[in-house]
């Protein structure tokens, strides 16, 4: 699977309060949450970004609250994937669990800037700027995580398990 889109780059320690502020947590409707995606990190994000675009973050992306509303807002907005130097652990598992593609690559984040067009090859584990030679490698997921990703998230994994349990 390949993701191609324009990059919106953020700094270190982007927290889930910035991704989806608590004032919108009185709903869990993905469409509603998408309207406020990244609002306190960049109030104009939803105006500037289009479906398929890619979010880049620095260290510890998605730190803070466990709200799954954060990756849901990003996914429902139509962001195709998130690339960061590192992810906070609850955001990491939430993204895996709900099927929001995430990739870890320090080098890609260092080199790539807002506005760059990039292509992320999820199968090869590579990120490259469109029209440029050379690519950056992403960290490979452990086997267990790959299984969940391949099931489309934890609920896909669970559905298979539920069938086994019920049989």
């Amino acid at each position: 699977m390949k993701f191609k889109g324009k990059v919106h780059k953020f700094g270190d320690n982007v927290n889930t309060d910035e991704i989806i502020p608590a004032r919108y947590l009185n709903t869990s409707d993905p469409e509603e949450l998408a309207k406020h995606c990244m609002e306190d990190a960049d109030p104009e994000f939803v105006e500037k970004a289009v479906e398929g675009d890619i979010i880049f973050g620095g260290e510890n992306f998605g730190c803070g609250s466990s709200r799954e509303h954060a990756p849901i807002a990003i996914k429902a907005f139509g962001v195709s994937c998130v690339v960061a130097k590192s992810f906070a652990r609850i955001f990491y598992r939430n993204a895996i669990n709900i099927g929001l593609p995430i990739f870890t690559s320090e080098d890609a984040v260092r080199d790539i800037k807002t506005g760059d067009k990039v292509e992320v090859d999820a199968v090869k584990g590579q990120i490259k700027k469109v029209g440029r030679k050379g690519s950056f490698n992403v960290e490979v997921f452990p086997k267990f995580i790959k299984e969940i990703v391949a099931s489309g998230g934890l609920m896909g994994y669970a559905a298979k398990k539920a069938r086994r349990v019920k049989q």
């Binding site: 947590l25 009185n26 609250s65």
Partner: protein, 426 residues
């Protein structure tokens, strides 16, 4: 080669696993799974989609609508209603209605529901608080909760452990909050990313459970998976008293400790005997420095409460500073006891009267303004000093408002002075 307490708990909860090491993935049986009114609605939806007609164990699912209750608006009321209906339908014993409800991470230990040696997951990042009891407790997401309600298990990566050795007796006005802010300021907000933080050292004998809860509560602010204090006599007497008082469904437990030859990724020592109260400046909990380093920082609002510092000893400390004083006319003081028990006790002990007489407010238990929910949202440009756990951009309201973090004594003194202050300044 020995195991740390975190590794031991993960191993004993992973069926069919004979040994574990940091980096391994396990599917662990959970003793308890927890959700609140923000995170449970998504979990409930996921659970229902799986088509199960019962939860894995109706005594082990905990639903605490603490974030936006008393319902701040209609949408929040609808979310809370979802929890209540679900609890009724699936006969969940541990659902807490207003009047009984408290901030989840203060309420559950108080009632003896979480016990030493337990493995608990919670769809709330501050679930790590419960590690103060010598349990493995970690924050997860809503989908994890939905999955756990169905299967009674959760996927976890075995973390490496950082051993934090605390030495020396803390000075007056210095508590668990100052110690953890000091540690986070040293480690940084991702300094313990994916790791366990295990606390040890002679300082623990001076730290009661409330201090230990404050410390483990903020382990996540250093990026940690869990914070944990190996159980000792202080833990035991707290847990036994809670079991006696509330008679929870489980009354026995097996306390676990780290082996002498356990392996740590790193050991850090902090001598806290000379530590001053610490205040963390906006907008990261790692921006801590001694309170004496703040000169003329005006505050518009002071908040005492939350899962970090809303327990009875916190309110006692704040009341001792505020007794006979008046809150500055330029400051709003919002005191929120973490649970109904804390509320009742604060009334009984006269703390509530001290707060109200001083010109402060005394509210019903809730997470309140900590996460920018309600009961004290900041306008553009306002500054708050809070005993809460996060001072991120816009955390308590407007994106251009500011939050400083401190212990309850500093908060109370600052409410009187109108600027960040130490009780000795009064």
């Amino acid at each position: 080669m020995g195991y740390t307490i975190t590794e031991k708990i993960l191993l004993s909860h992973s069926r069919g696993t004979r040994s574990i090491a940091p980096g391994d993935f396990v599917m662990a049986d959970v003793d308890l799974c927890l959700g609140n009114d923000v995170t449970s609605p998504i979990a409930i939806k996921e659970f229902r989609e799986l088509g199960f007609d019962r939860v894995f164990n109706s005594k082990r699912v905990l639903l605490v609508p603490d974030h936006f209750l008393p319902a701040k608006d209609m949408k929040s009321a609808n979310q809370a209603r979802l929890l209540k209906d679900f609890a009724e339908e699936f006969k969940i014993d541990n659902y807490f209605e207003l009047g009984e409800m408290g901030v989840e991470h203060a309420l559950l230990p108080e009632r003896g529901i979480i016990l030493p040696g337990d493995l608990m997951i919670g769809a709330d990042s501050h679930t790590c608080t419960h590690g103060a009891l010598g349990a493995f407790a970690t924050g997860v997401g809503s989908t994890d909760l939905g999955y756990a309600m169905a299967f009674g298990e959760c996927w976890l990566k075995v973390p490496e452990t950082i051993k934090i050795v605390l030495t020396g007796k803390p000075r007056k006005w210095v508590g668990g909050k100052d110690i953890i802010l000091h540690i986070i300021s040293d480690l940084g907000v991702s300094g313990a990313l994916y790791k366990a933080m295990e606390f040890a050292g002679d300082t623990l004998q001076y730290l009661d459970m409330d201090d230990r809860f404050s410390i483990c509560n903020m382990a996540v602010e250093a990026g940690a998976k869990n914070g944990i204090v190996p159980p000792d006599k202080i833990t035991e007497s707290y847990v036994k008293a809670a079991i006696r008082k509330y008679k929870p469904s489980r009354k026995t437990y097996k306390a676990v400790k780290s082996d002498k030859d356990a392996v740590y990724s790193e050991t850090r020592e902090y001598n806290v005997s000379k530590l001053e109260p610490v205040v963390a400046a906006p907008d990261l909990p790692s921006n801590g420095k001694p309170v004496s380093g703040y000169k003329n920082v005006k505050v518009d609002q002071v908040v005492v409460g939350s899962c970090t510092n809303g327990r009875i000893s916190d309110l006692k400390t704040a009341a001792s500073v505020l007794k006979g004083k008046r809150v500055s006319p330029d400051v709003r003081l919002v005191v929120i006891p973490a649970t109904q028990d804390v509320y009742r006790e604060a009334v009984k002990q006269g703390y509530a009267e001290i707060f109200v007489k001083a010109g402060g407010t005394f509210c019903t238990p809730s997470c309140g303004p900590c996460l920018g929910g309600h009961m004290g949202i900041l306008s553009e440009g306002e500054v708050a000093l809070a005993t809460t756990n996060r001072n991120f951009v816009g955390r308590m309201g407007h994106p251009k408002s500011l939050v400083y973090l401190s212990n309850p004594a500093i908060a109370a003194a600052s409410a009187v002075k109108g600027i960040i202050a130490h009780p000795s300044d009064l």
